[in-house]
Subunit: 337 residues, 2 copies
């Protein structure tokens, strides 16, 4: 993502400054853990240059503000709030999923324990609403409502996801609905808040929300592809990690529902309970591919990205800003980490 970082250096800097200023309001022990989680410090509290993530969502917020001809700087609080919500959900989801690694580093609960990680997540959650409230006026009212509905969707998605693990099979439409709730809703919130804070009309806000939701679902398809075929050195996850956890991701669900003759073998591997061997993992990945799961997710990602861009045509928006937003979308869907 080096190219993006260069292209939006100014915006990235404003987001980083906003995040740091917001996190500084937290009670000291929570601020310390948040600084570690965001990659600003190591576990001992020393400054570090670890990656603090792609900051994709807040960048989407700022670019969305530009499309409605708004000053992107006015949308920085919204961008910060979105990133706070994203990170609150990451911290809690890592506890729930017992994930020990994030961005190539031990997760917050691994370093500081489950109790403190729960509380830091809660603190980031509240902080997001505090920042939105400070904007005042319609931004505060509509923004807080939008953010709260989004958190509800995130939770709905996470509840569905944890239940998928206990089910033998999940229909593709349920898997899509889960991804919409868990991933797409927050991206839709990111772009909608950008349009709102940029001074857009309700119709513009809605159009930008649709854009973010479609992009978010495309993003999840790509993320699920990377969870199987991604390079561990780039993704920071183990090779075949989603298969190892028998995760009912979008490509796997599409494969299992394809009716292909290899489905039975894939279902057998996924239906077991023991640890999958390396050769079984390689075989499972081959089966997801032969059953068309890889192609289905790749195509869905492309179709959704195109539909997202197309949907913006319904509104009067700044052309150069729309170009920025759609090229960020395209590079996100083509990403390798």
């Amino acid at each position: 993502m080096t190219v993006l970082t260069d292209r939006y250096a100014c915006e990235r800097e404003a987001i980083d400054a906003g995040l740091r200023a917001a996190a500084a309001r937290l009670p000291a022990p929570a601020a310390r853990i948040a600084a570690y989680h965001f990659g600003w410090t190591d576990a001992a509290g020393a400054p570090t240059d670890a990656s603090s993530g792609k900051a994709l969502r807040p960048l989407l917020t700022l670019l969305a503000a530009k499309t409605v001809d708004g000053d992107w700087r006015r949308a920085v609080p919204a961008a910060v709030a979105v990133e706070m919500i994203h990170n609150f959900s990451l911290i809690h989801d890592d506890i729930i999923d017992r994930d020990g690694l994030r961005r190539h580093r031990p997760t917050a609960w691994k370093v500081y324990g489950v109790n403190d990680a729960i509380l830091v997540g809660d603190a980031l959650h509240a902080l997001a609403f505090e920042i939105i409230a400070e904007a005042g006026g319609e931004c505060a009212r509509s923004g807080a409502g939008l953010l709260a509905q989004t958190v509800r969707a995130l939770i709905e998605g996470q509840l569905a996801d944890t239940r998928f693990e206990e089910r033998e099979s999940v229909p593709l439409d349920e898997c899509v609905a889960m991804s919409e709730a868990k991933t797409a809703s927050l991206m839709g919130c990111a772009t909608a808040l950008g349009a709102l804070f940029g001074g857009g009309t309700p119709a513009q806000v809605e159009a930008l929300r649709d854009f973010g939701c479609r992009l978010g679902l495309a993003f999840q398809h790509v993320d699920d592809l990377l969870g199987i075929w991604g390079d561990p050195a780039v993704t920071g996850k183990a090779v075949f990690s989603d298969l190892r956890n028998r995760k009912k991701s979008l490509p796997v669900t599409a494969a299992l529902g394809s009716g292909h003759r290899d489905v039975a073998e894939l279902a057998r591997l996924y239906g077991g309970t023991g640890l999958l061997t390396e050769s079984e993992l390689t075989r499972a990945a081959e089966l997801v591919e032969s059953c068309g799961g890889r192609r289905a997710s790749r195509r869905a990602a492309e179709t959704l990205t195109a539909a997202a861009a197309g949907g913006l045509a319904s509104q009067p928006l700044r052309t150069d800003a729309v170009e920025e937003l759609t090229s960020l979308a395209a590079s996100t869907v083509g990403r390798t980490n």
Copy 2:
């Protein structure tokens, strides 16, 4: 609390209806767990008449709205939001403290597991902000800011509380600051939001907030006394429960800092790590009393309640409503459950 329930039947009914309507917005699995937690259903989902708590905080909100000559019905959303925040923090704190019982019933995490309990807490947290946002105008803006600051204080208090357990001794002022953050802040938020939603001036909102904060600290003193000498049949906790957990509560901290000749023996019992026997627990309770801890907390509760009532005199408020509020305060501090 039967007397209070009778006296404020109408208000209680409005709170209950508001809570149920709000909880109905949650994703189905979260709504089910919330209904259990609030005491509306049993673990199997069947309606029950289990106690859903005293609803003290939302009642404070509605009575505070009356003191500024406001229509208490307009403050129902604020009351519901406060109770949502209270219950989100209860659910997360029960996980953190590994508490297995609340209101005489197994806690949410005991019945539904830690993962779902984390998510339901998160959902109630977001719901509170959603309800406040819907009020619109200044109520939404100031209300959301107040609520977010309060959550930050709750978390600060809980972080301090968990760290107290690892420390050999805690000065009384730190213990008071922890109780202010963990308990008093939310009661202050409850009364402040009532005044805000009732249409009070900023000075009235501030005065009502001070009232709630003082009452909240008085409440914590009483709660800590009940944690040692409360009747298990009434409190729903084991006898001497706070001593059993070597909790550094207000009366214990006051006793340990008293300079009394019995302090050494109390410190020895509290300094150990093994399970305390029944006779050691009885002895510890005697020592807290002989070192003046019981008297100190009783007096602090009375002084704070009187100061809370006195502080309201600085503002023009409806006399009958202030009488209602102060008598609710007095009965809270004199409560046995």
